[in-house]
């Protein structure tokens, strides 16, 4: 019974949170560092596409990297 009460309370808390607006905890004027080009996940798309292609043609795994390329040269 205790488990049901805990789950009910968690459900109610989640529902209330869903209704409240989420305040950004990092304000726009605090994002100077994040806007620096060195913080980009993909600073040079032409390079990341190429490297992903090189690895992808030689490995069994692929995907979920946010960058890739097609092509040959796999041997």
């Amino acid at each position: 019974m205790r488990v049901v009460r805990v789950l009910f309370a968690l459900g109610m808390w989640s529902a209330l949170c869903a209704c409240a607006p989420i305040e950004p905890w990092v304000k726009p004027y605090e994002r100077e560092h994040l806007a620096d080009p060195i913080m980009s996940f993909n600073r040079d798309p032409i390079s990341s596409v190429y490297l992903e292609h090189v690895f992808g043609t030689r490995e069994g795994a692929h995907g979920a990297t946010g960058a890739a390329g097609g092509g040959c040269g796999c041997n």
Partner: protein, 400 residues
Amino acid sequence: MQLSPATPRRPLALRIGTLAAFAALSSLPGAAGVLPEDEADAMYHRYEGGGVTVQGPSVLIRKKIGDNFSASYNYYVDMISSASIDVLLSASPYKETRTQHSVSLDYQHGKTTYSVGYIHSREPDYTADTSIFSLSQDMFGDLTTVTLSYSRGWDRVYRDIKIDGAIMNDPAFGQRVDHRSYGVGVTQVLTRNLILGLNFQALTDQGYLANPYRKVVFLDPTVSNGYGLEDQVYPGTHTSTAGSADLKYYLRYRAALDGSYRYYTDTWGVVAHTVQLGYTQPWRHWIFDGTFRYYKQNAANFYGDLFPRRDAQNFMARDRELAAFSSYTVGVGASYEFHIPRAPWIQKNTLNLHYDRLMIDYSDFHAIYNNTVIGPGAQDALPLYRLDANIIQLFYSLYF
């Protein structure tokens, strides 16, 4: 017209379509509410290792159209010269060219960006066409960007043979492969110095998934060299899933640390782990990068380095990509930013040089060539194959 005996010139790039299915995802904007910068890049790339040299140009152009659209085009060429261990076992060295064209269009509406793209890749014995759609949405005060993507690929697989001395597609061989890819990505600002990227992707392949050139090796004591070759037999379907997490941290003296991990699994029994660490250090007009990448996978269920007899299994493969191996890649890069006074319309130019050293150690792929002799009980004495490669990228980027 006389058909020569099957003359498998080479193993080919069967993974074109699979990889192309991910390709345009890289052109997705980093944040849904901002279109990417206008830029043009021209690259020379070169891969050299294991008897293979792949080099060529790549050109990327991206331009905004009005306030809400951004279009991009990429022209990419692989000029391949191959005498790899696979080729030396069952085929002959070859040269060929693969050309790829990619186009994409982004449309931004408020905090949402819609992207469509198309990729066409062509080489003498393989064509791949892929279409992509994605949607990105900024939310929670622009601290979170969610991206959904879908791609569909259609490949045609051919096999080259020698007819009257000329190499051409085998008229009796033409196969199809279809791909579907589903992706979800989240970019989350955690603190003013830390950002997290999460990606999940599922891919299904259906059709002729084997390589028509490569062979499996089986023990055959009735012949002088001790082994025989036969065609690979792959399942007709393949489903894979991959999930990754990438953390990037800004250091207070203006530098960036990056760490990522990817987990991959598929219905062929391959499980792979990828760990990558990176460090970026600007200095005056320069930006220096250093990366380290570790990759490890086990073998596919139907992979065999040396089968005990002919037709030993219903599915058989000896593609190195399905073997058990681990690899290390160490990379360094330098980027120099400069301005051209007489061209005020150019915001900045960068000249970039990247070098990576790739080292692969195979655990169950032995070095067997067409002149190898495998004596009775001597298969364990064969040396394991090892591959070292140099990867060079030299490119010029122009932002306008």
